[in-house]
Symmetry: C2
């Protein structure tokens, strides 16, 4: 495995690879490091599907708000490199902020509409930073496929829309959320939680499972569902709700108000952002309430629900 | 020569080319059609430098304001195709608006700061449309080089900044402005001019030549230069000035006020936009007032002045 910290080194490795295996598929796993089992599952998937895999590790300042956790975001490159190597990654690209932004960036890639709600509303400018850095990584690496975890379902929707709108020659592969034994979605930010917060954090995944059942009840409306979800989360005394919404996926618009969601035919998402102390956790679940399998959580179903084209 | 109207056809041609000449340079000339000698010079340059050349013809609605000339912009695809063929273009890509924007585009590529003045100020949203469509063409074609005329000097500055900021793997090649015998810069919009307007339109290039002389006068300030430029243009009775500015190039910021521009060491641009009736014409001239050659108009000098990296 090669570790590159500069764009020049990265491009040299890519050129060598493209010359030796001209039609080999290149897979990119963009991360902010502090890797966990969720990232490992993306690496495994990339290795199954691609001849050459690149893991990028970059805590992107552009996607953090002024009062967010850019400075204290957990970092451990030694452990990350070991984990990448254990997962058969070919190249780790780990640039400095200066390497990625040598001068003040004047250019931004902005995605509207799918960013109006959820984290787009709670974290102004966040997805502008995401769209911009992901565009840069795509241009630097020109991967055939890029792997993203569905824990960040809105991020997947935003990046897929950006790729479609701008004709990026890359396939976005959404992968299922990996969870701790009690259901808590894996996240680098989980290390911020103290013991009591950690115990209560399980309320997110438990609420999503409950919502899955409530959605089967004939006559259930979005308002009723949202109200039950909010009550359920408030049972955790330390939980402070940022948002808890039921939306269409991947457009992230409100379902028609008042309709019976148990007979809704297109994919819905229940998306949660909940703070425990200073730590903001997110989680979500895709659901197709009517007909077929109600649960849309495994990789193939996620691909279908996110409207991914079939690979050739 | 192949004419493609769909992305599918275009991609098939590109794949065939990349398989048969894996390291052949691909050159893109993005245009809005109604080709003239200025475009022909871009095609010649691309043919000299690349193994495979693609001319795109697309009148991009995104870069026209609501009261601008999108609907009446001159079009003549038959003549364009003949001219492309005469200039040894390999592929003409001529998509419909629906092919380029099959759904409402939510994504925009925005370049700030270098768009604050000149056409960026006069035509709000114009460069957002340019950045977005050029990004799409780059992603569809993945050219090694893209050729742009310096008549649109701010467009070149915007696209170069976008390419640098987002790490697009493409070299931007600015090419010198081609002029009619009397000095008028070639433009598809020149056909809008009636005879009297056409005769008076020569005031733009004559003013730029005069400005070149004025810049040699010891003690000349930006304010004095701008005042003389404005007076000179007003000698044409039909001319209505949109802007006439002296700026740093390629940053397009104001030079320090009050300083002696005849001793200025970095590149300046004199940029004009002047309306004759409904027709808005632009022209510009790059100048390095102090030391070396004062005129920066031929291709090599334009490359150097726009800070272009040397090609490998």
């Amino acid at each position: 495995m090669i570790v590159c910290t500069t764009i020049t080194e990265l491009k040299a490795q890519l050129l060598k690879q493209r010359r030796s295996v001209p039609e080999g598929r290149i897979g990119l796993i963009p991360t902010m490091g502090f890797l966990h089992a969720g990232h490992a599952s993306l690496m495994r998937r990339a290795n199954e599907e691609c001849e050459y895999t690149i893991l990028s590790i970059f805590v992107n300042p552009l996607q953090f708000g002024p009062n967010e956790d850019f400075d204290r975001y957990p970092r451990d490159s030694e452990r990350d490199i070991a984990l990448a190597e254990a997962n058969h990654i070919d190249v780790v690209f780990m640039p400095t902020v200066h390497e990625m932004y040598p001068k003040t960036p004047f250019t931004k890639v902005l995605v509207s509409t799918v960013t109006d709600r959820l984290c787009g509303a709670s974290r102004p400018g966040h997805f502008d930073g995401v769209g911009t850095v992901v565009s840069k990584l795509f241009h630097l690496i020109m991967p055939d496929c890029a792997y993203f975890g569905m824990k960040d379902a809105q991020q997947v929707a935003v990046i897929k829309r950006m790729v479609d709108d701008l004709n990026f020659p890359v396939e976005i592969v959404p992968c299922e959320t990996i969870r701790e034994a009690d259901g808590l979605a894996m996240s680098s930010r989980n290390v911020y939680l103290n013991e009591e917060q950690r115990n209560q954090a399980v309320v997110l995944s438990q609420t999503l499972l409950a919502a899955d059942d409530w959605l089967k009840e004939p006559g259930i409306t979005a308002a009723e569902l949202a109200s039950r979800i909010n009550s359920k989360i408030r049972e955790a005394s330390l939980a402070e709700i940022d948002y808890a919404e039921v939306l269409e996926y991947p457009d992230l618009t409100l379902p028609e108000q008042g309709v019976d969601l148990s007979r809704h035919e297109s994919t819905l998402i229940v998306a949660l952002a909940v703070k425990f102390g200073q730590t903001r956790l997110i989680d979500n679940r895709l659901m197709v309430p009517f007909g077929g399998d109600r649960h849309v959580q495994n990789d193939d179903e996620i691909q279908a629900a996110s409207g991914n084209r079939n690979r050739s």
